[in-house]
């Protein structure tokens, strides 16, 4: 086999396998979930900052999405997913699973409370936005490790 054929085979191989495999990996799934959270938080933050008009439906959609993520996020940290796919999950997730689960439970409680409050105006949004998003930093303080 010459180099060109080998190269082509490698290309086809990587195209056929890697994306399909990567998308199912817990590291990738949880990264996508956090990106989704970023989008939801961003939509509400723009309203809080006064950069976007308050929109009750958009807020409800964002809070629903955040609550859904909170409900299943913890399932994507099985043993064996400590490394790989540029994960920034900190070893503390596995060494202090109880603490991680407690942080997630609090996040879920706050997300559900915000959703139940169904903010009808900007002030109501501000009232839930602060307490809810405190969870982001509180969890990332201990359970995420910036690697790049």
């Amino acid at each position: 086999m010459n180099f060109k054929t080998l190269f082509a085979a490698a290309l086809i191989g990587s195209a056929a396998f890697s994306p399909a495999i990567a998308a199912d990996e817990p590291q990738v799934v949880r990264q996508e979930m956090m990106k989704k959270n970023g989008g939801a938080v961003g939509a509400m933050a723009k309203m809080v900052k006064g950069e976007a008009e308050f929109n009750a439906d958009a807020v409800l959609a964002a809070l629903t999405s955040i609550s859904e993520v909170a409900g299943s996020f913890g399932e994507y940290f099985p043993e064996g997913s400590e490394t790989g796919f540029e994960t920034e999950a900190a070893p503390a997730i596995w060494s202090d699973r109880a603490g991680f689960d407690a942080a997630l439970a609090k996040y879920k409680t706050d997300a559900d409370a915000a959703l139940a409050a169904a903010p009808a105006d900007l002030d109501a949004l501000k009232a839930v936005f602060g307490p809810l998003t405190k969870n982001c930093g509180a969890c990332h303080e201990t359970y995420r490790l910036k690697k790049s």
Partner: protein
């Protein structure tokens, strides 16, 4: 020259070197004139609160994990791991025995600006006097006044866990000779009041460079590396490059930086993490003009790619 003379010569040289070493490593408190100038000021506790948050005092001196009001109780106990050992934040509450309640403002100024204790010994630079030394007399007096209003705690300070040779504090005199300076870290346009304020906050009380600047083997800043990021001394992970030359925040606008310091959110609404969570909570308590000044200073830095990002 005979052997006896040589022996005497070597002996004299050794004594001279040891004497010189002792002189050079001697802790040097502030000059009397500066101490008098600071003592003559009437501290304004309200203004001092800004310095308290800008200086991040609570991050090392409040109890580990303390939140909200509890961060005003400076009982100490936070463990700071490093290549040189583990430093444990002492009690600096106004308790007369367990804390610093018996200190004069001159003692406080010597600690903050010269890294010298009331007993005349060197402090470890884990206490960031290498940055605080740029603080103004007024700010030192105000901060002292504010800290005097905080609750007392009788929790005893723990000794640092530092092995030989770093447990010989006198050696810190050598570290100070090599690295301790109150000179500016960066030259900025001194006619631009916002940049000057940002420089003061970042290089002085904010002590951003203590983590965000790479250090050499003996704990001095790598020259030319100011704020270009570093490995995390507390373990795995990195401390981002803050200059426009790093991939971390080069695409952030000044208002993105200010908003991050206020809210903890990056421009794509990722959140603050790691030890920066505490720092951001402190920065959120500043006036927005101060956060804007910090952002302006960071944007004015020269690009310093660090080679590993």
């Amino acid at each position: 020259m005979n052997r006896a003379a040589l022996g005497i010569g070597v002996g004299v040289a050794a004594v001279a070197a040891a004497t010189l070493g002792l002189v050079l490593t001697q802790p040097k408190p502030l000059k009397a004139e500066r101490l008098e100038a600071i003592a003559a000021l009437e501290g304004n506790a309200e203004a001092g609160e800004t310095l308290f948050w800008a200086g991040g005092c609570a991050s090392c001196h409040a109890a580990p994990g303390a939140k909200d009001e509890a961060r005003l109780v400076l009982s100490g106990g936070v463990r700071l791991t490093s290549d040189f050992g583990t430093f444990i934040g002492p009690n600096i509450s106004p308790h007369p025995q367990a804390g610093i309640g018996s200190w004069s403002v001159a003692d406080f100024a010597n600690a903050l600006l010269a890294g010298v204790s009331p007993e005349g010994g060197h402090y470890y630079p884990a206490f960031p006097y290498g940055s605080y030394t740029r603080m103004s007399d007024r700010d030192v007096a105000d901060l002292f006044a504010f800290m005097g209003t905080l609750p007392e705690s009788d929790v005893a300070s723990l000794p640092h866990e530092v092995g030989f040779p770093f447990n010989i504090r006198r050696l810190l005199g050598g570290w100070k000779l090599l690295f301790f300076t109150d000179a500016s870290r960066e030259s900025v346009d001194q006619t631009n009041a916002q940049l000057v304020r940002g420089q003061y906050l970042v290089e002085g009380p904010g002590h951003c460079g203590e983590c965000h600047t790479p250090r050499n083997l003996i704990g001095g800043f790598v020259s030319g590396g100011w704020l270009s990021g570093a490995p995390n001394p507390e373990g795995k992970g990195i401390i981002p490059n803050l200059t426009p030359g790093g991939k971390s925040i080069k695409d952030w606008s000044a208002s993105d930086i200010a908003y991050y310091l206020e809210s903890g959110f990056t421009p794509d609404f990722d959140s603050v993490g790691g030890s920066m969570v505490e720092v951001q909570a402190n920065m959120a308590k500043l006036e927005s003009s101060d956060r804007d000044a910090i952002a302006a200073y960071l944007k004015a830095l020269p690009a310093r790619p660090n080679g590993w990002e």
